[in-house]
Amino acid sequence: MSEWLFFLEVTLAGLGSGALLALTALAYVLIYKATRVVNLAVGEMLMLGAYLFFAFAAGWGLSAWIAIPLAIIGGGLVGGIVERGLIRPMLGESAISVFMVTVGLGSVIVGLVELVWGTDPRALPAFIDTSPLFLGEAYVSRKIAVAFVTAAIVIGLFLILFRFWRGGVALRATATDQAAAYSCGINVPGVYSAAWVIGGATAAGAGLLLGAIGGISPVMGVFGLSALVVVIVGGLDSVLGALIGGLALGMIQSWTSTYVGGEYTNVVTFGIMIFALMLRPYGLFGTHEIERL
């Protein structure tokens, strides 16, 4: 096999996992955009979404096409409950306290999942065809291709929504100035709930795609940390940053693990984060706070 074809295949695989990173990053961005909360439990919400799908599809024996929407709705519900139960009472507290609440929440979710489903990794019931796909001569795993297309559609949809839909303005207005958003007639608590519900649903969707590719386990939430790198590099409040950052990091990780060695993936990933933070603390595409002097 020629060197170039191999490189192309590695790159395509990277784009696939990059799309999942981007989708997960979108969950961070949605929640941060509206509520200015960095939700560290996104990874665990993703994992819970995958387990919900597992429960519906394998436990109850539902068909995948019913179990998928149920798992996504379940993820949204979890997001909504977390917002009402944990985040809204913390309104007005310092950012670091809210941050710590989400860290705790992540651990609680891991614990609950281990209690219910045990700690062993499991395989999700297959809902994507396993026959390989060829792009020209290059081999692509069909699962990864499906994940890529789904993630691309969802993120594209959000990009269009934020550009043309009034709700996007409400979201950004609420994030910029809560009191002023209220004074414009924006239902601020409603915006908060909506952001968490949609963020939770997105995370669950990413979770079941990820689970379909690599199987599920209570520690798969670690994937969320890579996505956190994406949003920090791309800008915490930028959907476009999540997309580009996700794809880029996916490719870089894929190249690193193939050509340098799997043990270097994390070194490179978090090295990128540190460099990005030093060069552009607000991310490549994030909003630079406007200071008037």
């Binding site: 007005g92 409400a170 910029t176 009191a179 958003a181 209220y182 004074s183 007639g185 909003t287 406007i290």
Partner: protein, 269 residues
């Protein structure tokens, strides 16, 4: 109280953090279609009064412990701030508070949420705003954070116009603006009031411009109304002239005039 009032505040008491009492039994009325001004020195509780009306004070740990506020014949107790805005009560907050990361146009779009759920809507979009403030039209694609202070104030008032309210609470529109801009803004405020018939409660430190657009004035001091009356009568009041307008202080006076001195001290502190 007259039934033709858009806003009636009766004896409200306002406490922050359950410990600091800011308003101590304040009452005032805004008649429908009129501009009423509320004057007072720093810390008198003017902004707190407006926040009590728009119910934004709960964001700052404020609590109404007594009294009643009626807007358009309805008790505002228990209403959420955005619900009040949608009923036609628009608060233009102190310090302009435009959304800095949003463009001028997006700022105005944000204000369209105020007309959610209303039966009849004005279809014209933002034309009315751009007619009053042509400069906003020029800069409609610019980020609000990069506007000048005057333009930001125009945008803040423009948002109120988009919301098409029955009552506008205006908190110190002159803050931090050059005298020329202050005059420009107040000319437009007067024009809006005459042309749209919207009622306004205007909080100001600059009494001269406030009296120019208002029909009635209240003067408050440490949480209470000290003096009120039609603006032409307040304008004739010797103390008001001296302490707020900086004129008429030429009469002979001795410092034994303790009452006068105390009043002056309170007002100027």
């Amino acid at each position: 109280m007259s039934t033709d009032a858009i806003l009636e505040i009766e004896n409200i008491e306002l406490v922050y953090n359950r410990s600091v009492q800011v308003l101590k039994g304040l009452s005032l009325t805004v008649p429908r279609g009129q501009v009423v001004t509320l004057l007072g020195s720093n810390g008198a509780g003017k902004s707190s009064t407006l926040k009590a009306v728009s119910r934004l004070l709960f964001l700052e740990n404020g609590d109404l412990t007594a009294g009643r506020i009626r807007f358009d014949g309805m008790d505002t107790k228990g209403q959420s701030p955005h619900a009040l805005v949608r009923r036609g009560l628009f608060h233009v907050m102190e310090g302009r508070r435009v959304f800095e990361d949003l463009t001028v146009e997006e700022n105005l779009t944000a204000a369209t949420f105020a007309t959610t759920g209303r039966a009849e809507k004005r279809p014209n979009g933002f034309d009315a705003v751009y007619e009053y403030f042509p400069r906003l039209h020029e800069r409609r694609k610019a980020l609000a954070g990069y506007l000048s202070g005057g333009e930001q104030q125009m945008l803040a008032i423009g948002r109120a116009l988009v919301a098409d309210p029955k009552l506008i609470l205006l908190d110190e529109p002159s803050l931090g603006l050059s005298p020329q801009l202050v005059e420009e803004i107040f000319t437009i405020i007067g024009k809006i009031s005459r042309q749209t018939g919207v009622s306004m409660l205007l909080v100001e430190q600059n009494a001269a411009v406030a009296f120019a657009v208002a029909q009635y004035g209240y003067i408050m001091e440490s949480g209470r109304i000290q003096l009120d009356g039609p603006t032409d009568r307040l304008l004739a009041d010797q103390d008001v002239r001296e302490f707020y307008l900086g004129t008429g202080g030429d009469r002979e006076r001795s410092y034994r005039d303790i009452k006068h001195y105390k009043r002056r001290k309170r007002w100027l502190s």
